[in-house]
Symmetry: C2
Subunit: 196 residues, 2 copies
Amino acid sequence: MAEADPIRRLIHAFSRLPGIGEKSAARLAFFVLDAEPHVASELAAALTEVRARIRKCSLCQNLTEQDPCRFCADGRRDAGLICVVENVQGLLAIERTGEFRGRYHVLHGRLSPLDGVGPDQIHIRELLGRLAGVTEIIVATSPSVEGEATALYIQRLAGPLGVRVTRIASGVPIGSELEYADQVTLSRALAGRRDL
Amino acid sequence: MAEADPIRRLIHAFSRLPGIGEKSAARLAFFVLDAEPHVASELAAALTEVRARIRKCSLCQNLTEQDPCRFCADGRRDAGLICVVENVQGLLAIERTGEFRGRYHVLHGRLSPLDGVGPDQIHIRELLGRLAGVTEIIVATSPSVEGEATALYIQRLAGPLGVRVTRIASGVPIGSELEYADQVTLSRALAGRRDL
């Protein structure tokens, strides 16, 4: 990397981001070096600011500037209904449907014993701690092995407490062609069939 | 993006990097938020440091901490031979061959009139200003329309000054299969054939 140690450090820092290998990291670093100075300074400032000002909501673990977050602070949202998501992206995806008016709980992960992620590594304890008055938990973790395992785990703990635990439906995506659906998805779609 | 303005700013800052769209930028931002704090702080520090300490070599325009850069300062390298590259990545690629012992000149771009990149936007003037004692310029710009145009432009300016201007060969990459080479590359390989 020539004599430029700072460049090497920047490449290394970029390469720690997900989906960015050594080559992409080098491309990003040299882009930043050739770009207007504000590109680097604004990214640096945003990184610093986000770490300083964003924390987890003490109730739902959503990332927020104010605690409690705006979903937990919104009295018009149904506190008896909690949608459990793996991450903030999941929360935002549910929110974009405009169909959900309950509260959220962000796990920041999903059970994955092989990766060393057990119940203590995701915010399951905090979920159990806020079940007073809750009638239903909708588990909207991803439709993967780990997402399913996480859903079942929550069901096993919360079910006996008298809380209804439901799971979002899996099946063929709207607008897609049946022939492109994979076997597992189609099996799920069949098993989850409903009367018309 | 929930109430989190700092998150939105971080996503925006990431999305200005090349090859990173809105979705990838969001993924990077949330990764940074969930990662250990040092991931964000080290990237921020590296960005700030690189802008503060790295500048262009006053001779060859290579990115460097010291001026002149280590290639220009190395008396063992042939100052009569200049390899012209589009960017530092190109310089590093040539350097990795271990075959080149001359000096470099980094254009930081290539002629592309449609994108508003003329001779004044890349460091052609600086190249012409250092031709005293130079016997050969090897133009190692990319084998694209713009790279070729840049090579021809340099030839037209430097040739009349008595400097030999050469171009790196284009052709079928070593180790590849002929059937996968595109037509243009194969045509070049044919036109550039040499006696064995």
